[in-house]
Symmetry: C2
Subunit: 443 residues, 2 copies
């Protein structure tokens, strides 16, 4: 459409200057919206900038990709979260640069001054500079990516019924997942359920014993970020579901048709899902010396370097604590707690009160593996597995969803999927993806 | 992605030949699936071909376009409808040509023989050869089109907050709908509800009194296909909702920014929705003389021309009856009744019984206008309006949805929207639209 080409013509960031200090937040993820929701009730002008007009509940993206949930159920528009606050401004834009000396941010349609800047723009997929993989594997950080993966997998099955060559047929059916963290484990589990309960009913022409689901992990166990017991349990559950797990194995290259493993093995697959790494979604303009492991180094007040008007929270922020010498994990609870905490500190500062250092309350980590099967690590070295862990996982994710409507819709879907063994959203709708470059940098 | 480019490489239509006669159905719309569901239980081999892997409930597309329903709730995958029938084959393909003398259909990956062919591939938008309109207006016949329109409208609002020029701001807000039939009327009503209840909460920076919703109709009244009373009621309701209705007016041209009316008036609008006409979705290969008004002329057995092995049903078929000298209307009930009827005739023919001529049972027509407001024409010159008509409309559309899951999801959404005055699915997700040509010919 015309409008796509001329999208930025004549536009400008025009936000009225008021007596209230302007806080600019880059990113409407878990950290950004927690922060915005708190401070918008106080005498600040709050400007939230995001590439999308919606918040994405990333922990459930894998269920969109596997046809278990519709995209609208795990995302919600950002504006309604702050409705009725006249001091709130949302701008759907990409921030291209930060200019600390001028106290501005740059976008494609112009610059905006800030009094306080909060960088909360999360993480993106890290392909470790492998261009073949970057251009042909499927990442899973954004809603359009999840939708595209869903359509791609289903489209492959539609093609598989129309192909004679057995090797090619298998490469259409096979799915290779790289990365044995929570995303990889949850994807493998969900795909094995599709293979068992849903696909054979749809495709009587295909032999799903020929469909391999491979999970490739570079380390010696699954779920590195969780306890050994949970890693073992996940391994056990997935093996029972028929997932072929390769530990101590690295994907060296991908041709779009063949996956080359460090073991020398070659797997034919037209679907390589890359869940092997993330990195901070950095923006140009910050000095090199404050970047640590691809993230922005912050102190315990989430302040960036020596700037007393710039903060970073969530995945993009690198905060070292005594009990986390390698930095806090890139997880939603960290981002949410930092968002809430920074809001309190900004309100305190506006009242000339001293700032309080952040500390992380670990409430546990978890991953679901499939029907009635999950693993949960609780603080104090407690682990749950099986049905109880699965119910815990469902409860925690339901209550964490933003908005009552999303909770209701997801709950209904889960109930339906559980009772019927069905996955309702198996539509093939290809997405508009402007170009390879923006594909992995959307935000 | 690679797979998109090489999508048809090495593929072939390979359907085993059995002793059962092969019935090939082109199109999984209302007519096609009714037919397929009936005959699949009988000794036929049934091949259903559709460009999409899902059925679309077209009467509710306008609610997807206006953020009231998620796309997955009004569409359902085609394969599960025929599951457990080993004599059923689905192929996701576009049919490019019919070859009656060879008894085959052609696709981009090869030809397929048929014993009996049923053309059921519906209608597409008719732009009456206006290229400017065809390339820049939004049609509303397909799910991706509805999603694209939703994103386009929301994206315009996001741009409107970033623009100074008042004329340009208004052209981003204004929406012009061409065609005062059910689709146009329903769209206008839904948009005026969005304008009243939803958008002002989202965009405190915008003045929605500046947002015009225009409905342009070439005839002297709305809802030509319904009773005069219903047309008058729709006019009254829409006027109250603040829709600006232009009767006896034709859209002559569109620049992408300006809509030129036959009255000389020019409306600035970046959104022109074209609901002014449809035509049969014809396929090459049929003789000219059997095309009537852009549709395929059929007799009362839905037979095409002199071919005793070829049928057409639904929107694409032109069937004259005594009480319908201009042909049966292009409506879902006609397609469904013809699908069921043809199934019975094909079964009868296979048992050497004589065919029964089709007759149309008109159960009424209806259009909803907005909250608590609809118009219904019942057989025997009865009309309903207001709340009772609105409840009738909802009930009929709910029970007509394919599948229990879709009914449940749509019902939940309507309840939610009604109680909260909200529209939950306001996400901007642009779709992958391969090129202009396929855009309006997808099916």
């Amino acid at each position: 459409m015309d409008s796509r080409k001329s999208i930025f013509k004549n536009l400008a960031i025009d936000i009225p200057t008021t007596s209230e200090p302007r806080i600019v937040i880059i990113g409407g993820g878990f950290g950004g919206i927690q922060l915005a929701k708190k401070i918008v009730k106080h005498p600040f002008q709050v400007v939230l900038i995001d590439r999308n007009n919606y918040h994405t509940f990333q922990p459930l993206l894998y269920q969109v990709a596997t046809a278990g949930l519709e995209p609208d159920s795990i995302a919600g528009p950002l504006r309604p979260l702050m409705k009725n606050h006249k001091n709130f401004y949302f701008r759907m834009l990409r921030v291209t640069q930060i200019n600390p000396e001028k106290k501005t941010i740059s976008t494609i349609i112009g610059d905006l001054k800030y009094d306080i800047l909060v960088i909360a723009n999360g993480a993106k997929t890290n392909f470790y500079n492998n261009r073949n993989i970057a251009s042909q594997a499927f990442p899973l950080k954004q809603l359009p990516q999840a939708l595209d993966l869903r359509s791609h997998i289903l489209q492959n099955f539609e093609q598989a019924v129309m192909i004679q060559d057995l090797a090619e047929k298998e490469s259409l059916l096979n799915i290779v997942i790289v990365g044995g963290g929570p995303t990889g484990v949850e994807l493998a589990g969900a795909l094995s359920e599709l293979r068992k309960h849903v696909l054979p009913n749809d495709y009587h022409e295909l032999d799903f014993r020929k469909m391999g689901i491979y999970l490739i992990e570079g380390h010696s166990r699954l779920l590195q970020s969780m306890s050994e017991a949970s890693g073992r349990n996940a391994y056990k559950y997935l093996s029972r579901f028929g997932v072929q797990i390769h530990l101590d194995t690295i994907v060296k290259d991908y041709s779009g048709e063949k996956v080359f493993l460090s073991s020398g093995e070659i797997i034919g697959s037209k679907t390589l899902i890359w869940a092997a790494g993330v990195e901070g979604n950095l923006i140009r303009g910050l000095p090199e010396e404050i970047i640590r492991n691809g993230r922005i180094s912050v102190n315990r007040y989430n302040q960036v370097g020596d700037y007393n008007d710039m903060y970073a929270i969530g995945d993009v922020a690198f905060m070292q604590l005594e009990d986390h010498p390698d930095g806090l994990p890139m997880l939603a609870p960290v981002a949410m707690q930092q968002g809430v905490h920074l809001a309190e500190n900004l309100i305190r500062a506006s009242r000339q009160k001293s700032l309080i250092p952040f500390s992380f309350k670990n409430k546990g980590t978890m991953a679901t593996v499939g029907r009635n099967k999950a693993v949960v690590d609780l603080p104090g070295n407690f682990q749950l597995g099986g049905l109880l862990a699965w119910m815990t996982w469902m409860f925690v994710h339901l209550v964490s969803l933003i908005g009552f409507r999303n909770k209701l819709v997801v709950f209904n879907n889960w109930l339906w999927n559980y009772i019927t063994y069905d996955r309702g959203t198996r539509l093939i709708i290809r997405l508009f993806i402007p170009d390879e470059k923006t594909r992995n940098n959307i935000h």
